[in-house]
Subunit: 239 residues, 2 copies
């Protein structure tokens, strides 16, 4: 039988993706039948029956078609994508950009800044994901852009909420102490930056989020650091 | 000297892009030095000095580099992209999807539905844009995704506002009569559908927006029409 991961993130310490963890604990299982279901699927809204779309990413085409049929309902639309690596990486990295989008909102910035951060944030996630074997187009799909848009614009996103409080000038320790749930981007930004360093991928937005989280840089200080970088071609590193 | 278009949309009747109109009225001008500046740039926020990013798309590399330097400021970050066709098409088509995002909001749907509409809306814009000669990756950049995210999530978007009112059950004629400014998607959806028909490109979201605008379909009726289509691979028609 195929196995689908429903978790986002990478294993701390090893950096393994969740399907790699599954393969690790089930060494006899066919690798092409281990996949992931991911996308902009806030559980509460799915449960309310609001229209939502998702991606099933799995190598084996027969398994993909079968799983698509299993999960498809009148309000939950399932697409297939053979790119397991890209779909998993996109879900694991999005929280870093959600922190950045929250910081911008907390600083009082509006729709232009948010759209620029989401778009350029996706570009740096895609550069890292492509370096790890992901398909460039996956990042503009539901697992990439879709999940990023939901996470960066939803009031329900915990990582965005932490970013907003940081942007308003509050201290990280105080914000985290008050939260009932974990905002995983606070920890995972470090892992993302280490991964980017190993892969030789430039991630300017993630670096500045890291500077706020771990080095005491203020949100206002990171704006010029991002805006005054050398001018670039838009699609650099994307092919 | 290079010429940059700052307008979004296509000419009614001819379907020409704005840089094609420029070339038409200035037949002696070098085509590779006619370009476009586009992206998520709500004028009011740019004027307030909020951080924003934009794209200059022009064939000639020297002109692109020179224009990048001219427009770059501490709060306005300029990227270059040689794909004039893709950047212009993306800006011209986004209002159709903004109407759809507004309708979903007016129907009471939340972040999952919005993210799915933006992502699958971008996929259908990209299919049409690629058929007209655009670069697939342009659509995940500032002119495509960036502008679409801003337009579909901003309270300041006129097309989104019309969509919200439609979703709440108001009549199109009443909505349009009350507005001081033009919501161009109300007219341009027709042109987009005609273009898609000529190019043989399927645009299910645009079709349903058209059904609401021109055929009296109610917003509630178009939800099952979109959700119950045959299941598909995510990246179909993208390469």
């Amino acid at each position: 039988v195929p196995i689908l991961s429903l978790s986002k993130g990478v294993e701390q310490g090893t950096g393994l993706r969740m399907t790699e963890v599954v393969a690790d604990v089930l060494p006899g299982h066919r690798r092409d039948r281990i996949g992931v279901l991911t996308g902009p699927n806030l559980a509460r809204e799915v449960a309310l029956g609001q229209p939502a779309a998702t991606v099933v990413a799995i190598d084996d085409a027969d398994a993909a078609a079968a799983l698509q049929t299993v999960f498809m309902t009148a309000t939950f639309r399932v697409y297939t994508n053979p790119d397991v690596v890209g779909c998993e990486i996109a879900g694991a990295l999005k929280n870093v950009i959600a922190l950045a989008a929250g910081i911008a909102h907390g600083l009082g910035y509006g729709d232009n800044t948010k759209a620029a951060l989401i778009t350029r944030g996706l570009a740096e996630l895609a550069r890292l994901g492509i370096s790890l074997g992901g398909d460039p187009l996956t990042f503009s799909g539901l697992a990439g852009m879709g999940d990023l848009v939901a996470t960066c614009t939803s009031e329900k996103s915990r990582n965005r909420t932490v970013g907003v409080a940081l942007g308003q000038g509050r201290e990280l320790d105080d914000i985290v102490a008050e939260m009932k749930m974990v905002a995983e981007g606070v920890k995972s930004t470090q892992a993302v930056l280490e991964l980017a360093g190993r892969q030789g991928v430039e991630m300017p937005i993630a670096e500045q989020v890291g500077a706020v989280l771990y080095e005491g840089r203020t949100p206002a200080e990171i704006v010029p650091a991002l805006m005054l970088r050398q001018a670039k071609p838009e699609l650099r590193g994307m092919r």
